[in-house]
């Protein structure tokens, strides 16, 4: 049998058609929420090994230009002359005591392997690139839509760029973080749910957003 490569299937593939519709009056209102499928984002759980706090902190600082966040915060890499391209697109998201979700743009399954090489002795690394389905969420009606899904105050005064929350969205466990604002100055969030729940979560999101305008699912540019 020829060793052809396997075609991956995104967690949200085919779900855009399941948005409630036709969105007649919603369409008039314009796009209320824009959801971008973050398929391909490298994700890994990083759990601190005993007694390795300092060395991990230092290692993450040197390799990625990241101050390992304490508590529910996200810290993205600062590219320096030392870390070069290795840190590009990497962020650490605090999800629990001594546990982080590390992400890398387009890192895929290789990201966990590279993390393992860099910090393996100081932390246990588990690949989650396929375990979580991640959406980037933006749009003028996002806050009103999220209000129907989560019991977290995402008002800009309260939930600032870099803030993280582990919560439940319509009975689906979810991790939410706020990215730096978009070019239009509007808030941008990402939300991660277990992959198997992608369809249920999408249904809840699409229903919640339908009133405010067409929910658009975009592939990552």
């Amino acid at each position: 049998m020829a060793d052809q490569e396997f075609t991956p299937r995104a967690a949200f593939a085919g779900l855009a058609d399941l948005a409630p519709g036709p969105a007649s009056f919603a369409r008039d209102a314009g796009v209320g929420v824009i959801a971008t499928d973050r398929d391909g984002l490298g994700l890994a759980t990083v759990a601190l090994r005993k007694g390795q706090r300092e060395s991990l902190t230092q290692c993450v600082r040197e390799r990625y230009g990241i101050e390992l966040p304490q508590g529910p915060h996200r810290a993205a890499a600062r590219i320096t002359a030392v870390n070069g391209a290795a840190a590009a697109g990497i962020a650490f998201i605090g999800t629990g005591p001594e546990v982080w979700l590390a992400t890398q743009e387009k890192g895929g399954n290789d990201f966990a392997k590279s993390l393992e090489r860099e910090i393996g002795g100081m932390a246990s690394v588990s690949d989650q690139s396929d375990g979580y389905a991640v959406l980037r969420l933006a749009g003028p009606k996002l806050r009103d839509t999220l209000a129907k899904l989560i019991l977290i105050d995402v008002h800009p005064r309260v939930f600032k760029p870099g803030d993280v929350a582990s919560t439940v969205a319509a009975h689906v466990g979810a991790t939410l973080w706020r990215l730096p604002d978009g070019p239009d100055g509007a808030p941008v969030f990402e939300i991660a749910v277990f992959r198997s729940l992608a369809a249920s979560f999408w249904h809840a999101l699409a229903e919640s957003g339908a009133e405010f305008g067409l929910l658009e699912l975009r592939a990552l540019a």
Binding site: F6, F25, S124, D127, Q128, A147, A170, A198, S200, E207
Partner: protein, 1003 residues
């Protein structure tokens, strides 16, 4: 009425004024008859405008009833709205916003509202007293359920449900704010402005569709404009503030717990589309809000109190403030001959407003002897006859008020023709939300009413809700409360705004009831509770207000006694010669007004009641025509019917034979997978499993069993060692979350000294079991050079991680079916591609996909225990796994597993059973009895846990738990299943039915 039906101005509509939109003519049906109203009307105001006074029949006596109020406290005018599946019962006509095409029907009448057969109950009213049903329908006892209750329920009750699924959607949403303001009357608007100007995040809720509260129903001056214009102006400013949210049509129905920071949770119902015939696309009918507020201001106003007198339920007897609201807000005069019966100054406003609107007032009956000269002057101006120190003792009229009887202060009884009687007994602060978390109201002699006692933390009260009934006080208190609440929430720059307003006379001498009245005097109009019922309760000893409520139903049902409780309690106080505060008042609990169950369910209905988990191979299985079964939240393929197969047993038997004959594939992605890493992971596993894992070699897998602390089996599964400090545990699908919790508890609480990290990786990997004698050949084709899986390189219970066509893969040689078998894991995004690749590679072997049912048949054939046996009551020994319990180490559950009860050799233990008659069917759940023994609990010897038709043996086989089972092989006993299939004689055999030597496993 004919005029209104032709679209001309209804007879009771004033030619101008009112907060209605006369350009918007709305047509609606009431009891099949067509009427028109205007935009801004309620159903009640439009019906009153059309001269309709009779709106319903009462609960018990079926007496004709009209509208009493102009708000949510309405006890009488309950109607059914809409038709078909959207039909809803018990909507108050006083809050139902009129829309074009509205259909409404009166309730509780048959055959018609005007002629109601049930009204004969009124003739028997001497026997229909409180407690009548309990006293009368006692014997024979069986008749209660079969006859009495159904008949009574048909005769009584309030409206009927549609019995169809609700076609509309409902939402649940969450909101956060610094200051929540409950009520948008003068106090609430002032509070919202004070808080809003400070920059605080404010939510202002009002149940009405129009902000302003009493400012819309009364005539006031604030600064140099009318009260209603002031309300519009404040609303406009509030709408310009970006952090102020204004929710009209929204009832805050409950106050709930607070957090450490003082933030309190409130429940609110937004009637998003109740004022539309059908919600717009994607618009919910109603939205249930959970509001988290740092501070809250209760500005819910007050509810006017009736006076209890004879015939006080006649259509036409209305609250004085409601009459003002209909006149001033809706431009509707409820009648042509109006009289007033009041106990205080406030009621006089009604007479003045009516007269100013051109409606002559026949009489002002004030129970007080001393009336201020200002009021007497006003009466003179409007040419109304004043009866001071007088009382209305009776109201007459069959379908509506016709005349009243007045006992004058000189003792003379005067009859006066009137079609409308406005009644004012004072005001009760609307304090319900102050009591929801345990606060008790306190009595105020000053206003003759209960006022909020200790307010809940973080909540303040302003205006009439706190007993300050004058407008000036409401504005002052509202502004101060809003500013204070904002300051407490961290916005200290708030300065309370000030306004000038007219002085009001609010003196009152409370009059609860007219003692002299002989005719039926209603305390609670909704439940038909009369003054005599309260007296009966007092005579029979039900004197506590809580007992009074339950005995007479005073204050129950949809209005919860908003207009009746205090009067009832005051009557009880008079009867028992106690003061009202001594008698006390009943406790108000959420919700303040009824909330539809659908709103609490929100979008979680039908299939969306809970989320569904789908494996990466779900789409493929769906294409293959799989039948799915719910396993917890997961959907798993149960079987894959082939064309021509007519029943599941045929399908499942084919799948089993194909696996055992060649090869099959099953999606096992749903099994729990836990990454266990760290220096001490081996030691950790030794402590959670009964058997040893630290000794397991890298690249090897072992079956493990874990106990709960109490010694019973918790879960089983295989755990693989991928590296020195890295294991991967598998759990059963059902117990995945529970095992993860159990391990986290052990790691964090029991042994925090161990270096162990746990991560659920269930979702990361799509995993397929490939089983059958051709499984290795298939995998060799599929994997190619990526891994050496020859029997020597990769024997039974081996595992490996490798890169396969550019993706990470894991392979485990484990078997649940008893065949040579492997489990192949790939990142979930490749799960769809890989199952298709497995099927393609297996084509030449005739591969079949198999589901959970075939999986179950094969494990029963092999005597493997599963959920039916791991049922929380069994020990390792019960399951024949006692020998796995290591004696060299300690582990969770070891000590308690040694308890005499759990170590009892007589405990039911695992056996196999086959029917003596080979054609007989076995049923799980059948109990074991020795032949001839009676089917009693004492003779019970255990039961069958799992059954399957074994296609390999051609007979039904079962696993069961039997007293001293393993010692009884060959014995014949009875499997007793009285509810399914009766008794079957069975033979006790080894639980391993197929390939007992396990030769097939090793290939």
């Amino acid at each position: 009425m004919s005029a209104s039906r032709n679209g001309a101005a209804p007879r009771n509509r004033l030619p101008k004024q009112g907060l209605i939109d006369r350009s918007q003519v709305l047509s609606f049906l009431f009891d099949g008859r067509r009427y028109t109203g205007f935009g801004g009307d309620t159903l009640a105001s439009a019906l009153l405008a059309a001269g309709v006074k009779l709106m319903g029949r009462s609960f018990k006596y079926h007496r004709p009833r009209g509208v009493l109020t102009a708000g949510p406290e309405e006890p009488n005018a309950l109607v059914e709205l809409r038709s078909g599946a959207r039909r809803e019962a018990n909507t108050k006509a006083t809050v139902a916003e009129l829309f074009d095409g509205l259909e409404a029907r009166s309730q509780n009448r048959w055959p018609t509202l005007a002629f109601d057969v049930g009204a004969v109950n009124s003739l028997f009213s001497p026997i229909f007293v409180a407690g009548f049903y309990y006293k009368t329908f006692m014997w024979p006892a069986a008749f209660w359920e079969k006859l009495y209750e159904p008949v009574i329920r048909r005769a009584a009750g309030l409206g009927a449900a549609s019995m169809q699924a609700d076609p509309d959607t409902y939402e649940k949403a969450h909101a956060f704010c610094d200051v929540l303001i409950i009520g948008a009357g003068p106090a609430g608007l002032a509070a919202a402005l004070a808080a809003g100007r400070s920059g605080a995040r404010v939510i202002l809720c009002d149940e009405d569709f129009l902000l302003g509260g009493r400012l819309n129903g009364d005539r006031h001056e604030i600064d140099d404009s009318s009260g209603r214009d002031w309300a519009r102006r404040i609303e406009a400013e509030l709408r310009s503030l970006p952090e102020v949210r204004i929710w009209s049509r929204t009832t805050v129905f409950g106050a709930y717990d607070d957090g450490l920071s003082g933030t309190r949770t409130f429940g609110a119902l937004e009637r998003v589309a109740d004022h539309l015939a059908v919600p717009r696309a994607h618009q919910p009918r109603q939205r249930l809000w959970k509001i988290m507020a740092k501070r809250a201001v209760l500005a819910a106003g007050a509810i006017e109190r009736p006076i209890v007198f004879g015939g006080n339920d006649r259509p036409g007897v209305m609250m004085a403030s409601a009459v003002r609201t209909y006149v001033n807000r809706f431009a509707v005069v409820p009648g042509q001959r109006v009289a007033l019966f009041t106990a205080g100054d406030d009621g006089w406003k009604t007479a003045i407003d009516l007269a100013d609107a051109g409606v002559p007032v026949q009489a002002i009956v004030d129970a007080r002897r001393d009336i201020t000269p200002q009021l007497l002057d006003a009466a003179k101006r409007i040419q109304a006859r004043v009866f001071s120190g007088a009382q209305v003792v009776d109201a007459h009229g069959s379908h509506g008020l016709e005349h009243i009887a007045i006992r004058e202060n000189n003792g003379r009884l005067t009859r006066l023709a009137a079609d409308t009687l406005a009644v004012s007994g004072g005001w009760n602060p609307n304090l319900a939300l102050s009591t929801h978390v345990g606060g008790r109201p306190g009595w105020s002699d000053a206003v003759a009413a209960f006022v909020p006692g200790d307010m809940p933390r973080g909540m303040s009260v302003a205006g009439a809700a706190g007993g300050s009934f004058a407008l000036a006080a409401a504005l002052r208190e509202g502004a101060a409360a809003g500013a204070d609440a904002a300051a407490a929430a961290g916005f200290s720059n708030a300065t309370p705004p000030r306004w000038r307003t007219d002085d009001e006379a609010t003196a009152l001498t409370p009059l609860w009831f007219v003692a002299e009245s002989k005719a039926k005097s209603f305390v609670d109009l909704q439940n038909d509770v009369t003054r005599e019922d309260v007296a009966l309760a007092a005579r029979e000893g039900y004197r506590s207000v809580e007992l009074l409520k339950r005995y007479t139903t005073l204050g129950m049902a949809t209005d919860q006694g908003k207009t009746s409780n205090l009067n009832g309690h005051a009557i009880m106080a008079a009867l028992t010669e106690r003061a009202i505060p001594e008698v006390g008042t009943t406790t108000s609990r959420p919700p303040y007004t009824p909330v539809a169950i659908a709103a609490f369910a929100g979008p979680h209905r039908g299939k969306h009641f809970k989320p569904t988990r789908l494996t990466a191979g779900h789409g493929w299985a769906h294409e293959r025509g799989a039948t799915f079964v719910e396993t917890g939240q997961w959907l798993r393929a149960q079987w894959f019917a082939a064309p021509g197969e007519t029943n599941w047993l045929e399908t499942v038997s084919r799948e089993v034979k194909a696996v055992r004959g060649s090869v099959g594939v099953c999606d096992v992605s749903t099994l729990g997978k836990i990454d266990i890493q760290g220096v001490d992971c081996g030691a950790f596993l030794d402590r959670v499993y009964v058997n040893l894992f630290s000794t397991l070699g890298v690249g090897r897998v072992r079956y493990g069993l874990m106990l709960r602390e109490d010694g019973c089996v918790m879960d089983d599964g295989t755990t693989a060692r991928l590296a020195a400090h890295h294991y991967v545990m598998s759990t059963t699908t059902a117990n995945a979350a529970k095992v993860m919790q159990h391990l986290e508890h052990a790691r964090q609480v029991l042994w925090p000294d161990l270096d162990v990290q746990l991560v659920s990786i269930t979702e990361q990997w799509a995993q397929y079991a490939i089983a059958g004698p051709n499984s290795r050949r298939l995998l060799e084709r599929l994997l190619g050079s990526a891994a050496d899986i020859s029997n020597t390189a990769f024997p039974y219970l081996a595992c490996a991680e490798f890169s396969w066509r550019g993706i990470p893969a894991r392979l485990f040689r484990i078997s649940f079916s008893g065949e040579m078998a492997y489990e192949l894991a790939v990142p979930a995004r490749y799960g769809d591609a890989v199952i298709r690749a497995i099927m393609a590679a297996g084509d030449e072997f005739g591969i079949v996909p198999y589901g959970t049912e075939a999986l179950g048949v094969m494990r029963i054939e092999k005597g493997h225990v599963a959920g039916n046996e791991l049922n929380g009551t069994t020990t390792a020994a019960d399951l024949g796994l006692g020998k796995m319990m290591s004696k060299k180490k300690d582990f969770i559950g070891r000590v308690l597993a040694g308890r005499p009860g759990l170590a009892d050799p007589d405990r039911p233990s695992i056996v196999g059973v086959i029917p003596v008659d080979k054609s007989a069917r076995l049923y799980a759940g059948a109990h074991f009895l020795t032949s001839g023994a009676d089917a009693t609990l004492e003779n019970d010897q255990g039961y069958i846990t799992s059954v399957a038709f074994s296609p390999m043996l051609g007979v039904w086989v079962g696993l069961g738990l039997l007293t001293r089972g393993p010692q009884r092989l060959g014995e014949r006993i009875r499997a007793h299943s009285p509810i399914r299939g009766g008794d079957v004689d069975v033979e006790i055999v080894s639980p391993v039915f197929f390939d007992p030597q396990g030769a097939r496993l090793h290939g």
